[in-house]
Subunit: 758 residues, 2 copies
C-alpha cells in the first residue's frame, strides 16, 4: 500500500508540473521512459474509474454503455490523445419475453432475473440489466422432454451414443464449462435438439470452488451466465456484415441467411433452478465425469415431464461505440502499434472487461504524461476501447474490417487485454514475438514475490507440469513440454497460442496482423460471477484484485510492450522461437493422427467381436459408439519440408540479427523493418482461408477450433481435418500450410540477406 | 425363470431318488458330472437360505452368528459331508460407549445408530446390531479441531504438506474410498493425529452414484460403513496370536504388545452427519480431486470449533465358529482342494458375505447329490464356512495357522468367494492357475448374453481399456496391457493378482498355498449398503442379484473349479502364463524406479529454483512438498536373470506337458503331481517374509500393499521398497525374490524332466 501511495504522489507532481510547462528534460532512454511511465500508474485512479464505469449496466444498447464511451473519449482527450468515437450499426437482438418451465404434476418456472445481493452495494442499479439471455440464439417456443448432455461438447455426444440416448426432438440441458458456450446450443441443434438450456453447475464455478458471493467469490445459487452464442468459429463481428465493416451503408446479409445465427432457442439458468429440472430426470445415471455437485443423482433423462422453453427477441439494429485514440509516431508514423480492450460488459462488467479497461486508460494517461514531458513515440500508437465485444467481438471486428487495408499495411502488432485478476502473468500470441514478451516479463517485478513476472511464470509452468491438475494425457504432455522449456533459462518461456474469445481475433485470424493477449490471473477469482449481475466493483475489489495491484501491473506490463514496440529501431520478431514452437505443434498433429489410427483400429476389432453388445447391461439403455473412420496415411511431406526449411531460415535470420542488426546502416534498417513489418501476414494468405465455411479465418497457423470455440487450434487446416475425419482436407491443408510457411521463410531469407549486407 | 424352475425340478427328482437308493449309474466323465452338478443348482433354494441366514444381525459374538454356524453345519451334514465346527477364542472388542460431537456455538451430536428403512421389511431385527464402530480402533477420549484429509491415504498427506496443513494434535476426517479403510486411522496416527472419523461421501457410494436406498441401491444419508481397522498388512487374524492358531491354550501376546491394534480412537459416521462437521471447517478450499458431492464448500480445516470423539470398548475374548466339511478323496485323499466363504456379516450381511455363502452351500449340496449318485472325488474336498472374516479374516487365518503344516503338505489350491453380484466374471489368484480358470470360464454361459463368462470377461477387459474411467497413467497402462492379452484368443485372459480383504490371505500369503478368488459383479450394486444395516435380503434381491441368477452362476463356476481340481489326473498349473505375467509386473517395477528417479530429479530442481515458494498464493496457507530421496540405480540383475530362467523353464515345462502329460505312466504321473502340488509354495519361503515388521507375509510375489491394505502389490519386496524409498531393501529383495523364483524354476525343471521321461 505504501509503494502505491508513493507512486500516486509522484504522478500528481508530474501532472501538476505539466500543467505549467514541461520543465524536466525529456527522458532519453528506454529505462528512464519506463521509470517515468511506472511512476504515473496510480491504482487509486484506476479504482475510481472502475467505480464510475461499473456504476450501471453497460451492455450494448444501454445508456451507460454509450456514456462510458463518451467518458473514455473525454479521458483520452484529457490525456492529450487525438481521439474520436467510431460507431457501427450491428444486429443486436434483445429479449422481449422468455420462459423456462417444467410441466407435469409439479410445475416449476425458472427465475430469469438475478436478485440483488444484500452484501453488495454496487450491484443495485437504477437502470435495467439484461435478464437471462444468450445473444444470437434462435428464438422459438418449444415443449419437449429434457435430456442432460454434460458439457454438451462433441465427446459428450459420443458418450450419449454409448448411453443409448438421442436428443432428437428434445430440449437439452448442458452445464457451463468444457468448451465454449456457443457450441452447446450449436451441437444440440446439429444433433436434432429443439432447444437448449445452459446452467452453471456449482462444481465448476459455484460453492464447490469457494464460498458463494457475497461470502466468497463463487457463483451464488440464483446467478447465471449470460453470453454470446453467435457461431463465431465461422466469423466474428456483426452477423450481417462478414468481412466488411458494419457502417451505415454496408451491404448486409438478410438475417435468415446469416450463418452465424442459431436456429433453436436457448437460455442460461441458475443452478438453483437447474436443480429442480435435473431432479425431474429419468433414465440412466450419468458417468462419473458427467456428475456435477448438486446434491442429486444426475440422470441423462429424458425428464419425466416436458419442459417449455420460449424466447422472443427484438431483432433490431443497434449502434456500438468504439473509442479510438491516436498518438502519432515521430519517426515511422505509418507503422502502428494498436492496443485494445473492450468497455462493454454483460451487466456491470467489474472484472470483465473493466479491470482491463482501467489498465488501458492508465497506460494512455501515463503515455500522455510522457508526451507532455517531451517524449514522442517513434511509431504511431493507436489506443482502442471496443464496444460490443461480449455479443461477438463486434467493435474490434467491424473496425478491423473497415480499416483492413490500412491495418495490413501499417499495423506491426495488436496488443489486447480483457479481464484481469491477481496472480500470474499470462501471455499468448504469435510465437515470433515470444522473445519480445520474455524481455518485458523479465523487467517487471511481481508484487507478491519480488521476482520478475517472467520468473514467476516459469515457476508456475514447471509446477503445473509436476503437479498436473488433470491426468488428460494430451494436456499433461503439453505441460511437460512447456515446463522443460520454461526450466531452461537460456530459452524463452512459451507463449500460449491464441484461439478466440477476445478482440484480437479479427487482427490475427482475419487480417494476419500479429497479436498478443496479456493478463494476470489464477489467484484472484472472477469465474464465479462471470457474465452475471454480481461482477461488480465490490466483487472485483474484494476477491479479484484487492488494492488494484495487478490491474496496475497489467498497465505497467502492457505499457512496456507498447512503448518498446513503438520505439524499437529494429524488428521485434525472433524466428527461432516460432520455428521451435511449430515443430512442437507438428509433433502433436502427428501424434493425433497415430492415436486416431490406433483408436479406429481398436474400435473396428471391438465391433467385429461384438464387445460393445457383450458388455452392455441389459437393464440399462446403451448403444454402440459412433463409428470411427479408418485413418489413412497422410501426405505430410510438404509440411515437414516447410518446417525443415523454416528451422534453417530462422536460425540464419536470428544469427544474422545477433551479429549485424545493431550496426545496420539506416537504409538497410529501413529495408529490414519493411520486410519484417508484415512477415506474419504470410501465415494468413488472402486467397485461402479455413475449410468448412470458415473462409473468414485466413490464418493457417492460429485459429479458434471449430469445436472448441475459444480454445486455439494450431496448424488448424491440418489438425482439425484429422480430428474431424476430413482426410482430403488434411492432405490439401498440409500443402497450403506448407506454402504459407514457405512464404514466411522466403521473407525471412530476404531479411537475412539484408542483415548480411547482401 | 423357466430354466431355473426346470433345474429345480430335476434336483427334486434326484434328491428323492437318493432318498431311496442310487439307482442311476454314476456319471462317468467331467461333462456329465458337471451337467448333473448344474442341474442341482437351485436359485430358489439359495434365496430361502439367504432369507434365513440374513434374518438377524450376524456379527461375531451375536446369537445369530452362532445360530448360522449351526444351521450351516446341519446343512453340510444333511448333504452328506463329514462336517464339524472348529472354534477359536479371539480378541474381539465391542463398543460400550461412543460419542462424536461438534462443540462451539452450534453444538451437534452425530447419530451413531442407523435408523430403520421404511421400505425394507427385512431390516427390522429383533436382536441388537452393532452401532457405528471400527473393529480394533484404539479407544480414547479426545477433543481437538478437525482436519479434512480427503481419502486419508499417503498421497493425501503429501497434498496436505503442499496445503501447509499439519494434522498433529488434530482429529482427522477422511472419506471412504481411495484405499483400505484401516490405513486411514493408521496414517492419521502416524502423522500425529489424535483421532479419526471416516464417512461415506455421497460422491463415492451415495446419491451421486444412484438413488439412495430404498429407492435405489445407493447409501442413504444416515447409513455408515462399519469395518475393521486392524493393521492387517502386518498380519491377519486374531491380534494376539500371530502365526499360530487362537486355540484355547495358545500363547498370546499381551494386548498392549499387539502391533496390529490402533492407538487412537476412530469411528465411522454418515454423510448426513459429516455434512454438519465439514460445514464447520475453515482454511483453504481443498483441491478439485478432494471434493466430494455434499452441497458445501469442502475446506481442509481446521474446524472453527473442536470436535469431541470418545470410544470405549469391551476388550474381552469371544468365540468364533468355523464350519468345516470334508468329502474324502478316493484316489489322492492327502491332496486337498479347499473352498471357503465367510458367514459373519456386519449386520445382516445380505450381500456381504451371504450371497457367496449361499453359493458355497449350493455347491456343497450339489456335490452331496453327485456323491449320493456314486461319484467320489479323486482328491479330498474341504468346504469351509468361516466366521470372523469381517474383523480381520479371523476364522480363516486361525484355521490356516492351526493346520498350517497339514495344509502345506496337502492343500493343492484354496478357492475363495465373498460378496457376489450380477455382472461380469472376475477372477484373481496365482497366475500358474490362469489357464485352469480360463478353461472353466470358457465352459460357463453368461445368462445375460449367452456367451461364455470368459468371452464376456474378455470383452469387458477390452472395453475398459478403450473407454478408461480414469486417466491415471499407471491404471491405463495396465488396462491396455491386459486388454491386449484378452483380445488374443490364443492367450489366456489375465487373472488379477490377489492382495487382501478376504479369506485367501493366510493361505496364499502366509502359507504359500495357491489361491483363487472368484466373483461376479459390476452390474448389481451392493456398494451403497456395504457394511451397513441396509445390506439386507431385500436389498440384495432388488438391486444386487434379482432372481439369484448370478449367485447361482457363482455356484456353477466355483463348483466346476472345485470338481476339476479334485478330479484332475494332472497338475493344474500352466507355467507360461505365470512367467509372462511376472515379466509384465517386473516391467512395472522398472518403470516405477525410472519414474521415481525422474520425479526426484525434477523436484530437486524445483526446490533449488524456489519454484514452490514462487507459485504460492500469499493469501493462503501452503508449504513445500515432502522431499523425495534421490533414486539410485538398483541391483536388479539377479531378478532379471531369474525371470529369464523362469521364462525358459516355463516354456520347457509347458511344451513337455503338452507333448507327454496325457500318456504319462502312473508312477511318473504321481511324481509329477508330487512336484507340482507344492510348487507355488517356493514363492513363499518360510525363512524370509516381507520387511518392515511384515514377516508373517511370506509370499514374495503376491501381497497386499503396506499402504494399499487390500490392493495387491506384486513382487512386493522390491516394488514397495522402491515406492517407500527403502533403497537397501530394494536390492536385498531383488535377490531374495530371485531366489524364490529360481526355486520355482528348479522345481519346474524337475517336473519337466519327469514329463520328458528323464
Amino acid at each position: 500500500m505504501r509503494r502505491i501511495l508513493l507512486l500516486s504522489a509522484s504522478y500528481l507532481v508530474a501532472a501538476s508540473a505539466f500543467a505549467a510547462a514541461p520543465s524536466a528534460p525529456p527522458p532519453q532512454d528506454e529505462k528512464a521512459i519506463e521509470k517515468n511511465f511506472d511512476a504515473a500508474i496510480d491504482p487509486n485512479q484506476m479504482r475510481d474509474w472502475l467505480k464510475t464505469l461499473a456504476a450501471e449496466p453497460n451492455h450494448v444498447g444501454s445508456p451507460h454503455d454509450k456514456a462510458n464511451a463518451e467518458f473514455i473519449l473525454g479521458l483520452f482527450k484529457k490525456f492529450g490523445w487525438d481521439a474520436h468515437i467510431e460507431s457501427f450499426n450491428v444486429l443486436y437482438p434483445t429479449p422481449v419475453s422468455e420462459t423456462v418451465e417444467l410441466q407435469g404434476l409439479k410445475p416449476f418456472k425458472a427465475t430469469l432475473q438475478e436478485p440483488n445481493i444484500p452484501g453488495d452495494t454496487t450491484s443495485r442499479s437504477k437502470q435495467p440489466s439484461l435478464p437471462a439471455y444468450l445473444e444470437y440464439q434462435g428464438d422459438g417456443d418449444v415443449t419437449a422432454p429434457l435430456v442432460y448432455v454434460n458439457y454438451g461438447m462433441r465427446d459428450d455426444y459420443k458418450a450419449l451414443a454409448r448411453l443409448g440416448v438421442d436428443v432428437k426432438g428434445k430440449i437439452v440441458i448442458a452445464r457451463y464449462g468444457g468448451g465454449w458456450r456457443g457450441l452447446k446450443p450449436l451441437l444440440a441443434q446439429m444433433h436434432g435438439a429443439v432447444g437448449c438450456l445452459i446452467y452453471s453447475d456449482p462444481s465448476d464455478d459455484g460453492y464447490a470452488v469457494d464460498a458463494a458471493y457475497p461470502n466468497g467469490p463463487a457463483r451464488p445459487p440464483h446467478g447465471f451466465q449470460r453470453g454470446s452464442v453467435e457461431d463465431m468459429p465461422i466469423y466474428t463481428g456483426d452477423p450481417l456484415t462478414p468481412g466488411v465493416g458494419a457502417t451505415v451503408n454496408a451491404k448486409r446479409l438478410d438475417r435468415s441467411k446469416a450463418p452465424v445465427l442459431l436456429k433453436i432457442p436457448a437460455l442460461p439458468i441458475s443452478y438453483a433452478d437447474a436443480q429442480v429440472l435435473l431432479s425431474s430426470m429419468d433414465g440412466r445415471v450419468v458417468p462419473e465425469s458427467w456428475r456435477g455437485r448438486l446434491p442429486i443423482t444426475y440422470r441423462v433423462g429424458p425428464s419425466k415431464a416436458p419442459v417449455h422453453l420460449m424466447v422472443k427477441s427484438d431483432w433490431s439494429m443497434k449502434p456500438i461505440y468504439d473509442v479510438v485514440a491516436i498518438m502519432k509516431g515521430a519517426t515511422y508514423p505509418d507503422q502502428w502499434v494498436v492496443r485494445g480492450n473492450h468497455h462493454d460488459g454483460w451487466v456491470y462488467g467489474g472484472s470483465d472487461p473493466l479491470s482491463g479497461q482501467i489498465a488501458l486508460l492508465e497506460e494512455a494517461k501515463a503515455m500522455g504524461e510522457l508526451a507532455r514531458h517531451g517524449w514522442r513515440p517513434r511509431r504511431t500508437i493507436v489506443y482502442t476501447s471496443w464496444d460490443g465485444e461480449e455479443p461477438g467481438l463486434l467493435g474490434s471486428t467491424e473496425w478491423a474490417e473497415t480499416h483492413g487495408a490500412d491495418l495490413k499495411k501499417k499495423a506491426i502488432l495488436y496488443i489486447n487485454s480483457d479481464s484481469n485478476a491477481r496472480g500470474f502473468f499470462g501471455a499468448a500470441g504469435n510465437h515470433d514475438f515470444e522473445h519480445f514478451v520474455n524481455q518485458v516479463a523479465n523487467d517487471v517485478t511481481d508484487p507478491e514475490t519480488q521476482v520478475s513476472i517472467g520468473q514467476r511464470h516459469r515457476a508456475k509452468a514447471r509446477i503445473d507440469a509436476a503437479e498436473p491438475k488433470s491426468h488428460d494425457p494430451e494436456a499433461v504432455d503439453r505441460l511437460k513440454a512447456e515446463a522443460k522449456i520454461a526450466a531452461d533459462p537460456h530459452r524463452d518461456f512459451p507463449l500460449d497460442a491464441l484461439g478466440s474469445g477476445s478482440d484480437y481475433s479479427a487482427f490475427l485470424e482475419h487480417l494476419g496482423v500479429p497479436a498478443l493477449n496479456i493478463e494476470f490471473g489464477d489467484e484472484g477469482n472472477s469465474g464465479g460471477v462471470y457474465h452475471s449481475r454480481y461482477d461488480t466493483f465490490e466483487h472485483h475489489s474484494r476477491f479479484v484484485d484487492p488494492g488494484f495491484v495487478y490491474d496496475a501491473l497489467l498497465a505497467k506490463t502492457v505499457g512496456r510492450l507498447v512503448l518498446r514496440a513503438a520505439d524499437s529501431d529494429l524488428p521485434l520478431q525472433q524466428a527461432g522461437d516460432f520455428a521451435d514452437t511449430l515443430a512442437r505443434y507438428y509433433g502433436e498433429v502427428k501424434k493425433l493422427a497415430n492415436d486416431k489410427r490406433e483408436a479406429a483400429e481398436i474400435q473396428g476389432k471391438l465391433v467385429s467381436d461384438r464387445a460393445f453388445q457383450l458388455t452392455a447391461d441389459p437393464t440399462k439403455t446403451s448403444g454402440p459408439p459412433l463409428a470411427l473412420k479408418p485413418v489413412p496415411k497422410f501426405e505430410l511431406a510438404p509440411l515437414e519440408n516447410a518446417l525443415d526449411r523454416l528451422k534453417k531460415s530462422a536460425k540464419a535470420y536470428d544469427d544474422a540479427f545477433a551479429k549485424n542488426a545493431a550496426k545496420l546502416a539506416p537504409d538497410r534498417r529501413a529495408r529490414l523493418l519493411g520486410l519484417m513489418q508484415s512477415i506474419d501476414q504470410t501465415l494468413a494468405p488472402d486467397n485461402v482461408g479455413l475449410p468448412g465455411g470458415r473462409g473468414w479465418y485466413k490464418n493457417l497457423v492460429y485459429a479458434p477450433g471449430r469445436f472448441t470455440g475459444y480454445g486455439a487450434k494450431t496448424l488448424p487446416g491440418v489438425r482439425e481435418a484429422i480430428e474431424d475425419e476430413r482426410w482430403d482436407d488434411a492432405n490439401k491443408y498440409a500443402k497450403l500450410t506448407a506454402d504459407a510457411l514457405n512464404a514466411y521463410s522466403a521473407r525471412l531469407d530476404q531479411a537475412t540477406a539484408v542483415l548480411n549486407g547482401k
